[in-house]
Symmetry: C2
Subunit: 111 residues, 2 copies
DNA sequence: CACACTCATCGTATATTTGCGATATAAGAT
DNA sequence: ATCTTATATCGCAAATATACGATGAGTGTG
């Protein structure tokens, strides 16, 4: 009865899956969008923009941070977040790699 | 107590999140890889390759199909799956769009 | 020092996901 | 018709995720 069998897969598969999981909620997509639109790092303005309670937003930020997609700094009484470009591009490249590999091979797939 | 507030976000945000969710498990990443490596559509060979029970693999295939990432056809007694290129590229493009928009704006982000 | 303000964390309720065995379904073989 | 083979689905158990209010921790202000 070993649940949660994720460790049975390769590290790369797990990394990609974790990246995808971090983006698997519309709130977190929205957070990334906001962090992009404003050229400065944002803190609790996210709470005003999002239809979620402050604690929930904080939790989503934590998950994005844990996944390495964003960086956070405490700036006085408030927190400042912004996108972690290196990680972001790394995973984007890996996605592209996966996709393009496939495309070359079977452009004319069966079904 | 309204849980599951996903409907409070834009359709595009939900679509991206759903796409990401479909890829948020290493087993499903692995399935996509296998479907890519073999130029033919595969059925239950996935069960041999993956460290999961047949019913679990079938469930993951169903999720990928529901998300629109793969197509499936019943071919006699067996099922044949392959990647749905249109959907796959559509979402890949949307990711790229999101990423590049950000990159232009704040290449030199604060934190 | 008290006070307000911003944010993180805890506890909790509920929903969803993951995994498996058992069973159903459907096609082909004997 | 029965049996095998391949796959999907059902039902259940355990783990995770989502959301919120309440509380705590840390800063800056009066």
């Amino acid at each position: 009865m070993a649940f949660h069998k994720k460790e049975a897969f390769t590290q790369k598969e797990q990394d990609l899956a974790n990246f995808a999981k971090a983006m698997s909620h519309p709130a977190r997509i929205a957070i990334l969008k906001v962090l992009a639109q404003r050229n400065e790092c944002i803190c609790g303005e996210l709470v005003d923009v999002l239809p979620l309670a402050q604690s929930t937003v904080s939790q989503h930020l934590k998950e994005l941070k844990n996944a390495g997609l964003i960086n956070g700094e405490t700036d006085g009484p408030r927190s400042c977040y912004c996108i972690n470009w290196k990680a972001f591009e790394k995973f984007n490249n890996e996605f592209n790699l996966l996709f393009s590999n496939l495309k070359i091979k079977n452009e004319k797939a069966c079904c």
